[in-house]
Every structure is written in C-alpha cells, then in structure tokens.
C-alpha cells in the first residue's frame, strides 16, 4: 500500500482505515503485534489485519465487526489529525481540476497545514511529478514530512519550513501550478509567478474572506496574470429516506365524522426522497484561479 498505489492485502506499516459505520472511522498504523481498541472490542493487528484483503469485514474481540479500508487521500482528509483548518474533498476536487494537475505536474503549495490537500496533490501528480510545499510553522512542517514518508510518498515531495511571503517556494521556473492557502496571499503572488514555468501555468488562492480575495485579484492583475476567476463550490449532501405521509380524511358525503370513504382514517402514502441535512457547510473559502500566460 501507498497513497499513490493500491495494494490488495494489508501489510505491516500500512495506514489502514477502520470503518465502524456511517461517518465513524479512524486510521490505524498496522504494526505486527499491535492492537487497537474499538467500541466493538480490540483489533489485533497480526491476527485480524495483516494478510487480510482491504475491504474485508473484520470481527473484533467483542464480536462486533468493522471494515478495513485502503487509504485514499479522501479518506485521509476525513481522518487526519487536524493541526490547522483543512481543505475538504469538494474544494480539493475543484482545485485539482482547475489547476490542471496530472501525472508529471510540478506543484508549489503553501501552507502545508495538516497536509489534506498535499496528499491529494501527490496522488494526482505521481509517479513523475513533484510537490514543493512550504510551511511557516516548524512543527507542522516536520509532522507533514513524517506523514508523507509513512504514506510512502516522501520521494515525491519537498517540504520547506519558511515564510513563503518573504522567501518564496525555493524554486524558480519549474512549476505547472501554484496553490496558496495563507493569510496574505497577495504577498506571495510575485513568488508564485517566479515559481511557474516560463511557458506558463496556473495559480489558485484559497481565502475565507472577500477582502483577501480582492487584494489577491489586484495583485494577480498587477503581476500580469490572466483569466482571473473567483468561484465557490458548496457541497449539498442528501439523505435518502423513505417518508410516509398521512392522507387526510375528508369524511363521507353525508357529513359523518371519519367515514368509510376510500381515504380512510389511517391511510398513508410512502415515497422515497432525498432530504438535505438541517445544516450544511455554508462557506469554506473563495477559490481564485488565474493563468500565468506565455510571455
């Protein structure tokens, strides 16, 4: 297993996802002799995990069972330890396509944060691309590199612990795409431009506040970026349900209460429906994309 290559069988050193039920799961680093407690009892790594197929149902010591899943960047996003606010799959998907990432792409990113987007980028640019990710916060930079190695994508990534606004990405003229998720993206636009290939490339900035977007768009225009476009993608999840609606009783024509009419007292009608949740994420951030054109 690695985050960029599927494996069939759980092996020592793998990061597996233990799935307990809807929206309830956690990652486990599989270690010979290791043991993990779940609410259905213990999972013994050697006996219950190693050698099993990913996607298998595994019975815990208390008799309940779980599924053990192969990690993907998307499952990781749902399970990673939060060191910062993170990007979720909906924004990640949009960023990946709008930055035109594909195998072989060279990408610059800042900040690394909790590595949610980084894993998704690495998945997409492997096996021939490279990610330069810049993180201001030292502990976070170190932890990220450690995770990349554990997830067997360390060879695809360079983590730099520096201030991107002052020191840039540490590379020049190599990137196909640059992604910014920092408080003052406008201060890094010049560095982004410098990092991009001379033949051109794409840039994306993620910002929660509209004022950040305004300043960033201004900086992009000043640096000669084209196709500047700001958008927002919101996910609306639906809950599939069977709902039963009562049919009203209009009585009989003689005015008797609760007549024996076809629409009798307890008549109901059932239909399948997809219901939006009571609350949803109403905003994550604005995504601003731009193209550095051929000069």
């Amino acid at each position: 297993m690695s985050f960029v290559e599927y494996g069939d069988v759980i092996q020592e050193g793998d990061t597996a996802i233990v799935f307990l039920g809807h929206d309830s799961m956690f990652p486990v680093k599989v270690q010979r002799g290791g043991q993990t407690q779940t609410r259905y009892g213990a999972l013994r790594h050697s006996a219950d995990l190693i050698g099993k197929h990913y996607g298998s149902k595994v019975t815990c010591s208390k008799g309940g069972w779980v599924y053990v899943l192969h990690p993907t960047p998307e499952l990781w996003t749902l399970n990673l330890p939060h060191r910062t606010q993170i990007l979720y799959a909906t924004d990640i998907a949009t960023i990946t396509m709008m930055l035109e990432l594909k195998p072989g792409s060279v990408v610059c990113e800042s900040g690394t944060g909790s590595g949610s987007l980084s894993h998704a980028i690495l998945r997409t640019i492997a096996p021939t691309g490279h990610l330069y990710t810049v993180e201001f916060h030292q502990q976070r930079a170190e932890k990220a590199m450690e995770e990349f190695r554990e997830h067997k994508v360390g060879h695809l990534v360079t983590v730099l612990n520096q201030d991107v606004c002052r020191e840039g990405f540490g590379v020049t003229g190599v990137a196909d795409a640059v992604f910014l998720d920092i408080p003052s993206p406008w201060e890094a636009i010049g560095h982004a431009k410098a990092a991009i290939k001379k033949q051109g490339g794409r840039v994306c900035s993620f910002s929660p506040c509209i004022e950040q977007v305004q300043r960033t768009c201004q900086a992009l225009a000043e640096h000669g970026f084209g196709e500047v476009s700001t958008l927002e993608v919101l996910l609306r999840l639906y809950d599939v349900r069977s709902v039963t609606l009562p049919l009203p009783d209009f009585g009989d024509e003689a005015g008797g209460p609760g007549g024996g009419a076809p629409s009798a007292q307890n008549a109901t009608m059932t239909c399948k429906t997809a219901v939006a949740p009571k609350e949803m994420a109403g905003h994550t951030g604005y995504l601003t994309f731009a193209t550095k054109s051929l000069v």
């Binding site: 606010q85 506040c209 609606l245 009203p248 209009f250 009585g251 005015g255 949803m280 109403g282």
Partner: protein, 475 residues
C-alpha cells in the same frame, strides 16, 4: 375602532397576560407574562414581574433571586475592541494553559459583582492565545464564554419574523421544518392582505395561521381547516393578537369537507345533527386536549384555545352557587359551548360554501395532493394558492395532478437558498453554517375551470415566445 385606539396607546407597554418573546443573543422563547411565574430560558430562571409596565424592547439583566433589572443604556454586544484576529493559528501551541484566569479567579470576579459582559471581557484579556486564534476560533470562544456568563434578556412584541425564527431554531419538527424565508415566500405568493378571505391548512402549530392573521390585521376572514378533533393554535396564540382578530377566524374540520362539497352540510341538517354532535363533541374534546398538550409541551404558558373563544364573549361569572347549581351550570356551559361550536361550524361552512375564497395556503404533514385538490374547490378564480411541503416529491405529484385537472395556471415549483453573511472589517464572508434546505413550495393561480375541453388549438400553458411587446400593453 375604539379598542383599536386603546391598543395603540397600550401597545408599547408590557402588561400582565401579554404574549411576549424573550430574546437572548439569537435565541428566542415565547411566553405569557404572568406574575410570580418562574421562567426558565437558556438555563437561567427568573420572574417577569418586573417587566410589567416597562416598554417593549427593554433589556433586562437577571439579578439575584431571579428578578429582572431593566438596563436603560444599551451597549453594543461585541467586545469589538479586543478583536485583532491573528490571521491563522500558526503561532498557537496548545498547552492547555492559555487561559491565565483560573476557575477560582472567575468565581472571585463573580463574587465581586462583575457583570457577565465584564467577565467575558476579562476572560478575553487574560487569554494569551486569543489574539493568535483565527477569527472563527475567536467567535467560537466569545460565543462560548458569552453563553456562560452573560444574561441580558430583551422582551419583545411577538411577530411573524420572530416566531418563525424561534420555531425554526428551537422546534423545527413542530412546524414541518418550514424555514422563515419560505414562510415569507408563502405570504407574498399568496397575496395575503387585509380584507380578503383566506383558507389556511397548517399542521405547523398554527404558525402559518398566525402569520396569515398578522398580515390581515383583523380585516377579512380566515378559515382554518383542521384534521382530527380540533384546531391547533399554540403558535397562533403566541402572536398575542387582540381579541377582535379572533372574530375573523373560523375553523372547519377536514372531515366535513366532502359533505360540504356534496351540499349535504345544509344549515338545517347541521342544526339537527348539532344535537347528535353534542356527544361527538364531548368525545372529541379530550382528544383535542391531548393533541394540544403535545403541541404545547414547551409553550407552558399558552392558554387554552376555548378559553380565548370564551374570553371574547365576556368575563365569566364567578358566583358562589351550591353544588347542584354548579353542576347545572357546568351542563349549561357545555351546552353553550356546543351551541357556540355548532354556530361557528355553520359560519365557517357558509364562508366556504360561496366557493369564492381569495386564497389558499397549505403547510402540513399530510400528503398535499388530496388536500389541495379538495380545498382548491373553495377558491374563486384568479386567486393565488401556495402549498408547502418539506419534501419535493409529493409536490411533483401535485404539480402533475393539477396540470391534468386544469383550473390552475402559472404552476411553479420552487425552493429558496438562504445565506447569511458575516460583515466585519477584513473578515467578510458567508456564515460558515447554513441551512441545508427550507422546504419546497408549489404555487399557482386559479382560473375558471374549463368544462368543455379543447375549445381552442392552444394548450393551457404552451411555451410562448418571450414577453410579447404590444402597443396597447401600457395604455
């Protein structure tokens, strides 16, 4: 108009018996003002006695012993000056020791008599990480702390806006998850206004009924259709309408709709059946009480519906008669009530019989299809109708049935998206949480039903070219 004038003078002062809404931050609670009655609101308890005689809109602080102290000067709530958001969390190391004030310190502050707002301010100033936290984390922090230490309560006059917000926030299940902006659409699409005759069928605790009544201002008439034993008006009562509004309100049981449509609910037959009904009525009464009890769980203060009806008839005599007399009186009262009920039924029937209602508003947990097909028969041509449903599929069915049946045009199935914004210097963005859905509406306009079909070559709603420009159009 006399009582109207009286109402104008009195309307700004909180009086005993008033239906009011308490507000703390964004949380509302509808209560009736009664002396010596303990109110529990947001985990605080207090008495409203001191609110009586104060003006609506007054802010109160809860003092010791649960008494309310009016605050005359109103501050803005946010400790704005302390807000210097660190743009991200980069400098925060969570060591669990970021709050320099200990629990004991806080207790001491409280004992020193510091007000809630001041305690929150102290907490913020003593938090070493506050400035480094992102705005989102800051908001959460302030909100959490505020909730714990602040206690300002405002007493408001109820309104559709406030009650719709309150129900949606606290008990959406009781109002079929009808969101306030969706209710707003219903009132406008339904062209609800003074002087019209509107049919309302709501199983939203009477919230929609109340909203319609507010918009009619006591002019015109409302016929509330109800399933089961009796109309539910818990939310309606929370509006605190003047008594004369209730004189324009009628109710009619769904169970007699077929009879009325068949013309079998004539005045005479109903007069006869009135006597038969007396037992039925009695049987229905407890049923009604139960259903209302359920509806009113959290609205302890709402008076009984019947009580209000009686109130508009004048005060009851509290004579000290012998037991026999009392029993006699009770029988008599019951008879009067039943007679009253029968009269009201006939009055509602005669309003419906004309089949010339000016509008129809439906928001129920029932399948809307049979409801709208039946009740639309009571509506005059060229009048709007609006049907709410929490789910889209039943309204798709309604739409199809209405298209097949005819008699309705401009059918429109819609949904609204509601987005709230945070507007703050350099921190402007949509709120991070939003409502997933506010339900669906099907609206349309009635027309004279086409008895002889296919008169012309057109289809009822054939797609037409964009707005035709005609010379005479604006004559």
């Amino acid at each position: 108009m006399e009582e109207n004038g009286e109402a104008v003078n009195a309307q700004w002062t909180i009086k005993e018996g008033d239906h009011v809404v308490l507000k703390r931050e964004d949380v509302f609670k509808a209560v009736q003002v009664q002396k010596k009655r303990k109110i529990i609101f947001e985990k605080q308890w207090f008495f409203l006695d001191n609110a009586i005689g104060e003006l609506y809109g007054t802010n109160f602080e809860v003092a010791s012993g649960g008494t309310l102290q009016p605050r005359k000067v109103k501050h803005e709530e946010n400790p704005q000056e302390t807000k210097e958001a660190g743009m991200d969390n980069r400098n925060i190391v969570d060591d669990g020791r970021s709050q320099k004030l200990t629990r004991d310190d806080i207790e001491t502050l409280k004992e020193q008599g510091l007000k809630g707002k001041e305690i929150v301010q102290q907490l913020i100033e003593n938090s070493t990480t506050f400035r480094d936290k992102t705005e989102f984390a800051q908001e959460k922090y302030i909100k959490k702390k505020k909730k714990k230490y602040e206690s300002d309560i405002t007493v408001l006059k109820p309104s559709t806006r406030i009650l719709a917000l309150m129900y949606h926030g606290r008990e959406p299940g009781k109002i079929c998850h009808l969101r306030y902006d969706t209710l707003a659409q219903m009132l406008t699409l339904g062209n609800i206004h003074a002087g019209s005759k509107v049919i309302v069928f709501d199983t939203c605790a009477g919230l929609v009924l109340g909203a319609v009544m507010e918009r009619m201002g006591g002019y015109g008439s409302v016929i509330q259709m109800y399933p089961g034993g009796g109309p539910v008006r818990a939310a309606t009562d929370s509006f605190g309408f003047p008594a004369h509004f209730y004189q324009t309100l009628h109710e009619f049981p769904l169970a007699k709709v077929n009879a009325l449509l068949a013309g079998a609910l004539s005045l005479e037959s109903e007069e006869k059946s009135g006597l038969e009904d007396s037992s039925t009525g009695a049987r229905e009464l407890p049923q009604k009480t139960v259903s209302e009890a359920v509806e009113r769980e959290a609205e302890h203060s709402s008076p009984d519906v019947e009580a209000i009806v009686v109130t508009s008839e004048g005060p009851e005599d509290k004579s000290k008669a012998e037991r026999e007399n009392q029993r006699e009186l009770r029988v008599q009262e019951k008879k009067i009530k039943l007679e009253e009920k029968r009269k009201r039924l006939l009055a509602a029937a005669s309003l419906l019989e004309g089949r010339n209602a000016d509008g129809l508003i439906i928001a129920s947990r029932f399948h809307p299809c049979p409801v709208v097909l039946s009740l639309l028969k009571f509506v005059a041509p060229s009048r709007p109708f609006v049907i709410y449903c929490q789910y889209k599929e039943p309204l798709i069915e309604c739409y199809t049935k209405l298209r097949e049946q005819g008699g309705a045009i401009s059918l429109r199935l819609s949904e609204t998206w509601l987005r709230h914004y945070q507007i703050l210097p350099n921190r402007t963005h949509p709120k991070l949480l939003m409502s997933g859905g506010g339900g669906y509406l099907l609206s349309g306009t009635t027309v004279v039903m086409d008895t002889a079909k296919s008169l012309g070559p057109q289809r009822v709603e054939e797609p037409a070219p964009k707005r035709q420009k005609l010379e005479e159009a604006n004559v």
